[in-house]
């Protein structure tokens, strides 16, 4: 690994900027994400910043079940994040639909449409777990092991 690639890898690990997208949940996970930037948890210590625009983000945080009305928006937001990018699914809803599973308005697990790198389980997960998930996603970005980077690396 040449020094520049090494520096870039370290930078990706140390500077995860996140964008939060609720694809149709109960807002519980969003309430648990907010404390991550408060004095008690202070994720800015690991370089995490919450961005208002997906174009400035590295990591997409998806909360809530994927509903039939929101899957286009999820795809749209995902494609607006510049590569390399990682996706972290927060809570049980994106994975299984949780208590909403089987509802006629629920489309299914999020990875039906976009590749998910880290699953954070819980209903809702604690802020420590969310920060751990973000740190793990940043580590994957640094090692080039996110689904987005793997897809780019593979010859078509």
């Amino acid at each position: 690994m040449n020094p520049f690639a090494k520096l870039l890898a370290v930078s990706r690990r140390k500077s995860p900027w996140i964008y939060v997208l609720n694809s149709g949940g109960c807002n519980g996970c969003d309430i648990e994400i907010a404390p991550c930037i408060t004095p008690r948890y202070d994720a800015e210590q690991i370089g995490m910043l919450r961005q208002g625009s997906p174009k400035h983000a590295d990591i997409l945080l998806i909360t809530g079940t994927l509903t039939k009305r929101s899957h286009r928006a999820v795809l749209d937001i995902y494609s607006q994040i510049p590569s390399p990018k990682a996706v972290v699914a927060i809570g049980s809803c994106p994975a299984s639909g949780n208590v909403f599973a089987g509802s006629p308005t629920v489309d299914g697990p999020v990875d039906k449409y976009i590749p998910v790198d880290v699953w954070v389980s819980g209903c809702p997960p604690r802020p420590q777990l969310i920060i751990a998930g973000i740190a793990q996603a940043a580590q994957l970005l640094a090692e080039g092991r996110t689904a987005d980077q793997q897809r780019k690396a593979k010859p078509c």
Binding site: K14, S15, P39, E44, Q51, P82, P84
Partner: protein
């Protein structure tokens, strides 16, 4: 001749140009973030954070908005950066090998306006509604804070009787210096786009301001340009209002100390205040900034 050329290249690229001022600018940005975090009872980011943010942005792919003027979109961050690098070279800070020349202060004032114009154009060229709102706010704000800012500099030039930065530096101290320094300090938060004048980049209202559609390397260049802008602004303050010490080492320490003092002052102001509306900010500058600058100007002309 060749030697002189190399001297200029060194000045633009290393000190007081991009490399040196970039490092200082990132240091000041970190001080601002860290101090803000400490005031809020948080730990805050480690000191290399702005540098890693910059490198990470450089290493990302670029997403282009559709239907934009591509050439302008990519040229704007580099125009902003180039103007700041040239501006840094003509300010006689400690260790600057390039000499001062007559009329350099006029050139400097023009160069200081280029990043503002680039931001305004970046807002419009991105064709995002948030970017356009931000561009409009930025243009209005620049009309506001430039009254005390320009008047402070011109009052100092009037007092020294010269438009050469080297002469202004050696001018004696007096009432004009104090009043002009106040007017200058009032304009600093608006130039840094920090609270209470963070109107053009109000992230809770208009997402990310004029840079909303910028990402990856162009955004990184804008960030670097902003860091250089901070350094250049502090350089100008140091040259205009701070007395020189005999020893060059002591001078360099004083230069860093004054700059750190200014960023701490700006961060404390930002932590204590909430954002003004455009109208109130404009009135603040034309009333209080105008009074301080006007008084400095009158005393400079009479005295």
């Amino acid at each position: 001749m060749l030697n002189e050329l190399w001297q200029y290249v060194f000045a633009v690229l290393v000190w007081p140009g991009i490399l040196g001022a970039g490092a200082l600018g990132f240091l000041y940005l970190w001080v601002a973030r860290k101090l803000m975090a400490r005031l809020q009872g948080r730990k805050g980011p480690p000191f290399y954070q702005p540098f890693f943010d910059f490198v990470k942005l450089l290493g990302k792919d670029t997403v282009e908005p559709s239907g934009i003027n591509r050439r302008l979109f990519y040229a704007l961050p580099f125009m902003s950066l180039a103007s700041m690098a040239l501006g840094l070279v003509i300010v006689p800070v400690p260790g600057n090998a390039v000499g001062s020349f007559p009329g350099d202060i006029v050139l400097l004032l023009y160069l200081l306006e280029v990043p503002v114009l680039c931001d305004v154009m970046a807002g419009y060229v991105s064709q995002s509604i948030y970017g356009q709102v931000s561009a409009m706010r930025e243009a209005v704000m620049s009309l506001g804070y430039n009254l005390p800012f320009l008047a402070a500099v011109i009052a100092m030039a009037q007092k020294a009787g010269s438009f050469r930065l080297g002469d202004l530096q050696s001018a004696p101290f007096g009432l004009v210096t104090g009043l002009a320094a106040i007017a200058f300090l009032l304009a600093v938060p608006a130039r840094l786009k920090s609270n209470p004048f963070s109107i053009p980049n109000a992230e809770q209202e208009i997402v990310a301001g004029a840079h909303i559609e910028y990402n990856s390397a162009p955004l990184a260049i804008f960030e670097l340009s902003h860091a250089l802008e901070i350094v250049l602004l502090f350089d100008v303050f140091f040259v205009l209002f701070v007395p020189r010490l005999g020893n060059s080492m002591a001078n360099a320490v004083l230069y860093i100390g004054v700059s750190l003092g200014l960023i701490v002052l700006a961060t404390l102001t930002a932590a204590m205040t909430a954002r003004f509306t455009v109208k109130r900010a404009f009135r603040f500058y034309w009333l209080w900034g105008g009074l301080a600058a006007g008084a400095a100007m009158v005393i400079a002309v009479i005295g």
